[in-house]
């Protein structure tokens, strides 16, 4: 309530004051205060992109490993599965004594959460490469490496990109709790004035917008790099 009163003192336009006092959705308050959200928004974007990028790199390495040595796939799935089910809030608090408050703790937890989604989709993508395509590739003299980079990976792209989209949107959501680890983000802005509707709308809305924008971005990239998936028989 004290924060609200402070806002009241700062703005003296009566209509806005009424709106804020009534805890409404206040366009003029939003217009005046939107700048405050810029920095948490960027931090949120940063946490999401960095976490998913690191998660992607780790999951990709694990997927290549499991693709070569099949017996590794079940244990990797189980371990990443455990990481996935751990409540991220619990992970934040478990990590705090080790890594302290800040980005590192938040990113570690978010990465751990994204691994299962990314890894499983990559494996799914490899599994969907037609056996005869692989056989023909080997039979024409592609080496293991060439088969992987020129045939298997491109054909696994739709599933890999689908995993990336899920990972990005869920990480945007989870990053709203990153402030508990002292890493800020839109969650901090949101919980700072959780009772004030205009604030909840803006902070929540920006998080939603970020999730949708990232999702569409990846979808666009996927369409651009997998033109064959849209080729239909004529």
């Amino acid at each position: 309530m004290s924060a609200l009163l402070a806002q009241l003192e700062l703005h003296d336009r009566s209509a806005a004051n009424d709106c804020v006092a009534n805890n409404g959705i206040c366009p003029s308050w939003i217009a005046d205060n939107i700048d405050r959200y810029w920095s948490p928004f960027l931090q949120h974007l940063y946490l999401t992109v960095v976490s998913v990028a690191i998660g992607f790199a780790i999951a990709f390495g694990l997927a290549l490993l499991a693709h070569r040595r099949r017996w590794l796939a079940p244990p990797i799935t189980q371990i990443t599965g455990v990481l996935y089910t751990l409540p991220s809030v619990a992970v934040f608090f478990l990590l705090l004594p080790l890594t302290g408050r800040g980005n590192t703790t938040a990113v570690i937890a978010l990465v751990a959460y994204s691994l299962l989604i990314l890894f499983r989709n990559m494996m799914e993508g490899f599994a969907n490469v037609p056996a005869e395509t692989r056989d023909a590739g080997r039979g024409m003299g592609l080496t293991q490496q060439q088969l992987l980079w020129r045939v298997e990976l491109p054909l696994a792209l739709p599933e890999i990109m689908a995993g990336l989209r899920i990972a990005l949107t869920t990480t945007v959501g989870l990053a709203s709790l990153a402030f508990l680890a002292g890493a800020g983000g839109l969650g901090e802005a949101l919980f700072d004035q959780i009772a004030f509707r205009s604030n909840v709308l803006v902070a929540g809305g920006l998080a939603l917008l970020l999730a949708v924008a990232l999702d569409l971005l990846v979808l666009g990239v996927q369409k651009a790099i997998t033109p064959w998936t849209r080729a239909v028989s004529t």
Partner: protein, 335 residues
Amino acid sequence: MSTANTAQSEGPSASRQAASLEFREATKRYTGSDRPAVDRLSLEVPAGEICVLVGPSGCGKTTAMRMVNRMIEITDGDILVGGKSVRQSDETELRRHVGYVIQQVGLFPHRNVADNIATVPQLLGWDKRRTAARVDELMDLIGLEREMAGRYPAQLSGGQRQRVGVARALAADPPVMLMDEPFGAIDPINRERLQNEFLRLQAEIRKTVVFVTHDIDEAIKMGDRIAVMQEGGRLAQYAPPAELLMSPANAFVEDFVGADRALKRLALQRVRDVDLIAATDGHPSEPAIDIDEPLRDALSEMLGAQVSVAPVVENGRVVGLLSIERVSQAIGRDT
């Protein structure tokens, strides 16, 4: 088919000599199995001929074929391509010089027709211009319009896909081709068309081909020589089609070629191969039979017209008479 195009660039026709192929006691044993999958297979395929491996499923014909490019490793014995042991060849290098066509084709779904055909030339590091010229040439050779080059495999019919598969296997002009039931997944009408197209193509390119099928009729049609394989990966008989039909080596082969082997032999012979009866005055004028017709078709026409003697024409002129008796003599005669 553009012969002009063929002449100026490195053409498909005999630009590289086909190589002979020899199985020498080639054997495949899998651990944990008491019987070998392929048992001391020995046979020679002269350069430029089609050798068909035929037999029931589980007879080891596909295994035998896949040992040639070491998709399956040989346990014992050897296979020589152009006199060179495949066991001593680098596996990847070997495969790039042996054309490979499989039943499910296995085109790369993410690459268009031109890029699929260009696979091996790209692996061999051909420059762009040479590769593009070769792709154009092969598109002509398999009778696919140039505007199809940008299509993805999903946009092609089954027959077109199989043609592209053959073109892709031929791209780097390999001296040897392996074809595993290449037309097995195609409907009967298109299969017949593809078979004929391939035989026409083969007359031009003269590759040494190992062709696997379970269909004895396809084997007889496509093969210069046929290797009939039986359970346990053993070679039952290796002979040209006519000989196989004329004198099956054992009961298995006799049974496998079928009770209608006499009729199958008829399909292999032409009216021209028969001693015709001299034409006499007042001979029947119907049904006129062309001298280059397969004997099987001629017999069918005669039976259909319910005659025992029919005139044979060459260039519109009657050159003799064919009788059912002469047809039956032709089947019985040694070739």
